[in-house]
């Protein structure tokens, strides 16, 4: 099946300026060669800690940030060369739900305007009555009521606000939606409602999702495939079942082991990794994870690991790992 969105070797470096004359003194390597693809009806979970570049990937795909290199194909067509009117038309087909439902809704706009203005901007509705009608319909679909049309964002709870944010993303009938940590600002009981809603919408409409999160448990619940990012690169990607049944990269293993499990009878050793993730300004040479890796070898210090497919022969979807531990063609 052709992917809805196909990202190839995406690179984004931010120059850090300093000194009196604003010289470029360092490069912050936010994203350093990331490739991923999402098919219709599929959710790709993108997991990583702060500074891993996962949000930058999302922002680049929507061209909120211009990537330095690489290509982004929407239904087979490159969107990096689009400008003006064409870009705006392409954006109708890609949408985003933001992390903080408080600041991603303009406090001075009513719900009707927030959800309905993409229609206005794109000239997709004939009249303001039609806009109101479609907004009301969408509000019901995301679990709000049409009585909410004339309210302001501050009159809603966090979970309701995120529903408004989701409605806004749906109104242009996109093919592809990016969720950038949509539940990390919400309480667990509300988080569950929102995750269920997101899943349910996909089942009904077949959207392709890129679900960005720092939380493996949330990603596990929502994704079909999962990609793990560390310092600007993908270290492992596989189907959900494969990744959780046979995690391969030492970083993925550490992420899984350090998530505190709600079971007091099973006291974990929580300090799985030592040290902090290095800053993306000072990316370690060789394997980026080697300073913290419990399995680091000589080769990891100077040679960047290649991608190895370790899925059992005949598996439909590859299990890719960037780690020297798997360089001798180890397959499960």
């Amino acid at each position: 099946m052709n992917p809805v969105i196909d990202v190839r070797h995406l690179v984004k470096h931010f120059p850090l300026t300093g000194g009196l004359l604003g010289r470029k003194i360092q490069l912050l390597k936010a994203v350093d060669g990331v490739s991923l693809a999402v098919a219709r009806g599929e959710t790709l979970g993108l997991v990583g800690e702060s500074g891993s570049g996962k949000s930058t990937v999302g922002n680049c795909i929507l061209r909120l940030i211009e990537p330095d290199r690489g290509d982004i194909l929407l239904a087979g067509q490159s969107i990096l060369t689009l400008t003006g009117q064409e870009l705006r038309r392409a954006r109708r087909r890609m949408q985003m739900v933001f992390q903080d439902p408080q600041s991603s809704l303009d406090p001075r706009m009513t719900v009707k305007k927030i959800v309905g203005y993409p229609l206005e901007v794109h000239g997709l509705a004939a009249s303001s009555a039609e806009i109101a009608d479609r907004v009301a319909h969408l509000l019901q679909e995301v679990g709000l009521s049409s009585d909410h049309l004339d309210r302001y964002p501050h009159e809603f709870s966090g979970g309701q606000r995120q529903r408004i944010g989701i409605a806004r993303a749906l109104i242009t009938e996109p093919d592809f939606i990016i969720f950038d940590e949509p539940t990390s600002a919400l309480d667990v009981s509300v988080q569950a409602q929102i995750l269920n809603l997101i899943k349910d919408l996909q089942r009904r409409h077949g959207y392709a999702y890129l679900f960005i999160s720092h939380d493996l448990t949330v990603v596990r619940h929502i994704s079909h495939r999962i990609a793990v990012m560390y310092l600007g690169t993908l270290v492992e990607s596989a189907t959900r079942k494969e990744l959780f049944d046979h995690p391969a990269h030492p970083y993925t293993l550490a992420l899984l082991a350090s998530a505190p499990k709600p079971n007091p009878l099973l006291r974990q050793e929580l300090a799985v990794l030592q040290g902090d993730p290095p800053s993306p300004v000072q990316v370690p040479p060789g394997c980026r994870f080697h300073p913290r890796c419990p399995h680091a070898m000589e080769i990891c210090r100077d040679t960047e690991p290649e991608q190895h497919n370790i899925s059992p022969t005949g598996a439909a979807s590859p299990h890719l790992v960037c780690c020297h531990l798997y360089r001798e063609g180890h397959r499960r």
Binding site: N59, L62, L64, R88, R89, R91, R92, M94, Q95, M96, F98, Q99, D100, S103, S104, L105, D106, P107, R108, M109, T110, K113, Y117, P118, V121, H122, D150, R151, Y152, H154, G165, R168, T172
Partner: protein, 290 residues
């Protein structure tokens, strides 16, 4: 369209809340009463004034305050009470015009500069900095003098002087608004810059503009009166407060009432606007609001 939006009921609800919160602040109530009183006096001046403000009556020259002439009379025998009431009209109109025009233009300039950023921002803001580097009264004097002394040139001069204040404030707000996720959301939805400035940036700066506008109204009235005082603004016999003080100054030693009453009105009006502006700042600050 604008009126339809204004009547739109959710906004009315917000306005209701603002008024309700203001009502609990004693300073705001005091400021509000002063300003309302001034506006009423200005509006109904023709009904309230017992005499013609420019009617000369040489037999009543320089009379002290009495039951007939509440604030006394001037050297032409004109009733100062009536002149002060008509003066309120002039001052209010000047204030509202200046703040309306300067506030509108300044907001547009500041929002554009702050939102677009880069060279355009640099160019506009350096221009504003140059204007701000002169004391406002000095700059207004220069402009008014260049255009020739008249009420119109005074209004124009004060307007030009006030624009950078609004522009700079709004630019700062726009810089903050620009980084909000809802702006990214608008971009993702395909909105153009102009649309975003008009629908997101400016509405989110409006409350600070209202606060600054209220505070500036007091300032404006003061600067306009000062221009008239030094002869660059309203010309006698126009009953303008500044112009009245200017003439009354000569009689200050013996006829205290001549300059005192217009002066008191300026004082009270300016204090009223400042107090109201301060209270509005507290109320409209969304961090305090909820």
């Amino acid at each position: 369209m604008a009126i339809a939006t204004l009547r739109h009921h959710p906004r009315f609800r917000e306005l209701g809340l603002t008024v309700k919160i203001l009502g609990r602040n004693p300073l705001a109530v005091a400021g509000g009463i002063i300003i309302t009183a001034m506006i009423l006096l200005a509006t109904f001046a023709p009904l309230l004034a017992p005499f013609d403000p420019i009617g000369i009556s040489l037999s009543d020259r320089l009379k002290p305050p009495s039951g007939n002439h509440f604030f006394g009379t001037d050297e032409m025998g004109r009733d100062i009470f009536s002149r002060v009431l008509y003066g309120a009209r002039i001052s209010m109109v000047i204030g509202l015009m200046v703040v309306g025009i300067a506030g509108g233009l300044g907001t547009l300039i500041g929002a554009t500069a702050g939102f677009i950023g880069g060279r355009i921002d640099n160019f506009i803001m350096r221009l504003m900095d140059v204007m701000l580097s002169f004391p406002s009264l000095v700059l207004a004097m220069a402009l008014a003098a260049a255009m020739g002394p008249s009420l119109t040139s005074a209004v124009f001069a004060v307007t030009v002087v006030m624009i950078p204040k609004f522009a700079r404030l709004v630019r700062g707000e726009a810089l903050a608004v620009r980084e909000m996720p809802y702006i990214a959301a608008a971009r993702v939805s395909g909105a153009k810059n102009g649309w975003i400035i008009l629908h997101h940036v400016i509405p989110n700066c409006i409350s600070t503009v209202i606060v600054l506008g209220t505070l500036t109204l007091g300032d404006t009235i003061l600067v306009a009166a000062s221009l008239s005082f030094i002869g660059l603004g309203a010309q006698p016999p126009t009953p303008e407060w500044g112009a009245m003080i200017s003439v009354g100054r000569k009689f200050l030693m013996d006829q205290w009432w001549y300059a005192t009453f217009p002066g008191l009105f300026i004082l009270v009006t300016v204090i009223g606007f400042n107090v109201l502006g301060d209270a509005l700042r507290d109320v409209l600050d969304p961090r305090i609001r909820r």
